[in-house]
């Protein structure tokens, strides 16, 4: 595993709420990861940026209800680019536990519901990264 874990963070689509993603960005940086935050982006933009930045992890935030629609597009785009097995995908935001499970089935490695702590997120990402090697 090369150097620092590099995480690309994005708001999914047009979602206006960025308090959570900024809190997570700071938390990941404080935990020693390299963080790039690209603001509001669509799935293809996120994948393009991840390729450009050679990211290890893609983290997206969705509080606006589009987690399944745009979330599944993101995974599909990753598969199209042959990245699904090389990058860790995590999502946080507001959605039901049932939808969180759907997101895992779609292909998200980690899904964080409201109330997740920074420590939980950091540990989970470290765990995923070490497993993926």
């Amino acid at each position: 595993m090369k150097g620092k874990v590099k995480v690309l963070l994005s708001k999914l689509g047009l979602d206006v709420h960025n308090r959570g993603i900024i809190t997570v960005a700071r938390g990941l940086r404080d935990a020693g990861m390299e963080v790039i935050y690209i603001g509001n982006s669509l799935p293809e933009e996120i994948i393009k940026a991840a390729i450009q930045e050679d990211a290890d992890v893609i983290g997206v935030s969705s509080l606006g209800g589009a987690h399944l629609t745009l979330g599944s597009e993101l995974i599909a785009e990753a598969k199209r680019e042959g990245l699904k097995d090389q990058i860790i995908f995590v999502m946080g935001g507001v959605f039901s536990p049932a939808d969180a499970e759907k997101l895992r089935q779609i292909g998200f490695d980690g899904v964080f519901l409201p109330g997740a702590t920074r420590q939980e997120i950091v540990s989970a990402i470290r765990q995923f990264v070490s497993v993926k090697g």
Binding site: L14, V16, I22, A25, G39, G65, G115
Partner: protein, 586 residues
């Protein structure tokens, strides 16, 4: 103060100094009380309590103001009832803007509604009205809020989620189908100045089509730069100076043409939810209000002309007495500012009228039914504070937009307060409490200090541009997260009193299917049917007005009449003003 201009705090200090005070409390009684209190404290109070006399409640969105164990008249020893409190409906309005408050007019029960296409939200709005809601509060989906059409590639997968999709005057018409615009009060959650200048004209054009004159329309829009430039994350922003100008254009146009409409609800709520204390929330809204009034004076208008209709929008959260005290504090402070800084003459100009929405961020995902209790306390504190209009957040806040059942429960929360508790029979029932009055005084001073800080930065718009507001918020919410994770902020069912094992899942709202397709189809038909020459000339005229810095709203009204879509109008703004990059938050 740099530039020779006095700050509001300096002006108030100068104008209010030397006023003769008539203390309510007898000095002899106070002296005796002082002796007795000290004796009591030394003998009847445990040493542990003496040493920890001040305790600081830690809550989500709290201000960390320390509280004494017991409050007495000594905490407000020079209270002058007439100067500091007055009766309700009397200067300085600490006790309420009307003499009879809720006896004369119940707080408006105005629950947010919004999801799917206009026909879906129309149904839910009717449901709420049928069940006793007294105001409408439609909320728009993310594409509409961010000012993109439903068929814009950037909107895909998001149409009709977390709000209703509105692209044109025709959608607005469907949204309000069979709803009598001249009989209801409608708070259109337009959020931004730009969006207000785009969506409200569609509402006005719809009224015209129905033959309803604009002077019959009652309601409000947010129209707040705070929402467009500070609180939201979005792909494109216009510069703060242009955004503020549009805010004032909206105020000017609406005041002049839609006389019963509240043209701004100073924020407030969204800023605080983003992550600040209740003090900063109010300081920002007050600073924004001051700057808006100043701009309207510069445009040649009379202060009462604008001030009579200014309104505010707050976020009652969990520190119960702080919430009560701060609404009273800002009501008194706003009175002082309007009277002594701006020489407002009309009584209405002196009133801090407000809508409140109970804090969403204070609600938890774990054991969601607990949120019903939390929101009930938030709502009650706002009623004790004297708010004019309420929205109570629903218990499934951390899951999705509310189910019908959850939305109804929120409405019932308000109705139970109104009909069963008896608290609305007495005006300002907590007035005179040694604690509440001391806290009101403390908070008023703190709010004014932060207003002063903003003014010394060059004013609110300058503070936005400099990143001061953004940084303050980011620091606040990071610190708050640490306090939650450390357990300094206790949250039942989350980090204290945690349940063992899983509770049964709650029913979660499901969005209607096919909304995006329906919206796209409507838009396609509209673009075909409308007079596209009129559309293009309306958009061109708007662009011209933007470049000449004329009031843009008459032009956006023409655009709405011609059937322009939201995205088409926003594009004109972007082209005219260019894009702005907001300060980075981390």
């Amino acid at each position: 103060m740099a530039g020779g201009k006095s700050t509001t705090k300096e002006i108030l200090q100068a104008k209010l100094a030397g006023r003769e005070r008539v203390p309510l409390y007898n000095p002899e009684a106070l002296a005796r009380l002082r002796r007795e209190f000290d004796h009591w404290r030394d003998t009847a109070v445990r040493e542990q309590d003496r040493e920890n006399w001040y305790a600081t409640p830690h809550t989500i969105l709290g201000s960390d103001i320390p509280r004494e164990m017991l409050y007495t008249p000594l905490n407000n020893s020079d209270l002058d009832y007439t100067q500091d409190l007055g009766n309700s409906g009397q200067e300085p309005f600490t006790r309420g803007i009307h003499a009879n408050m809720y006896r004369g007019r119940e707080f408006t029960m105005r629950q947010l509604t919004g999801f799917g296409g206009p026909e879906d939200t129309n149904k839910r709005m009717k449901f709420m009205l049928e069940h006793g809601a007294t105001g409408l509060n439609p909320l728009f989906d993310l594409p509409t809020i961010q000012m993109y059409d439903s068929d814009d590639p950037i909107s895909r997968g998001q149409v009709g989620m977390s709000g209703v999709a509105i692209d044109s005057v025709e959608d607005m018409d469907l949204l309000f189908k069979d709803i009598p615009l001249d009989e209801v009060t409608v708070s259109l959650v337009t959020h931004y100045p730009s969006n207000t200048a785009i969506l409200f004209p569609m509402y006005l054009a719809m009224a015209e089509r129905r033959g309803i004159s604009w002077d019959k329309l009652r309601g409000s829009v947010q129209n707040d730069i705070t929402l467009e430039e500070v609180v939201r994350s979005g792909p494109e922003y216009i510069p703060p100076e242009d955004c503020f100008r549009i805010q004032c254009d909206n105020i000017e146009f609406i005041r002049g043409n839609v006389p019963q409409w509240n043209f701004i609800t100073l924020n407030g709520y969204n800023l605080r939810e983003f992550g600040t204390s209740g003090i900063t929330e109010m300081a920002v809204a007050v600073a924004n209000g001051i700057e808006s009034v100043e701009e309207m004076l510069r445009r040649g208008h009379n202060v009462d002309w604008i001030a009579e209709r200014l309104a505010f929008f707050w976020s009652p959260a969990s520190d119960f007495f702080e919430e009560v005290a701060r609404i009273r504090a800002v009501r008194r402070l706003w009175y002082k500012i309007m009277k002594y800084r701006f020489d407002a003459r009309s009584a209405r100009s002196l009133w801090m009228r407000c809508h409140v929405q109970t804090s969403g961020v204070s609600l938890m995902r774990q054991e969601p039914l607990n949120n019903i209790i939390r929101a009930a306390y938030h709502a009650l504190s706002a009623v004790f504070g004297g708010a004019q209009s309420l929205h109570v957040d629903s218990y499934d806040e951390a899951y999705s937009v509310p189910t019908e059942e959850a939305a109804l429960l929120s409405l019932r929360t308000q109705q139970i307060i109104q009909a069963e508790t008896g608290v609305t029979e007495v005006v300002d029932p907590l007035g005179g409490s040694f604690y509440v009055e001391a806290l009101t005084n403390d908070i008023e001073a703190r709010i004014l200090d932060e207003v002063d800080e903003i003014e010394r930065l060059g004013g609110y718009v300058a503070a936005i541009g400099k990143g001061w507001v953004h940084r303050k918020i980011a620091d606040y919410f990071s610190r708050e997260q640490s306090m939650i994770e450390r357990g300094d902020i206790k949250l039942v069912g989350y980090n204290v009193y945690k349940a063992h094992g899983e509770l049964p899942p709650i029913e979660v709202f499901q969005y209607p299917q096919g909304v995006e397709e329906r919206q796209k189809a409507r838009l396609a038909k509209l673009r075909e049917r409308r007079d596209n020459e009129k559309v293009n000339s309306a958009l061109a005229a708007l662009g011209e007005a933007c470049n000449r810095k004329k009031n843009v709203v008459p032009y956006t009204v023409d655009c709405a009449r011609a059937g322009c879509s939201e995205g088409e109008i926003f594009k004109v703004f972007k082209q005219a003003y260019g894009l702005w990059r907001p300060p980075v938050l981390w």
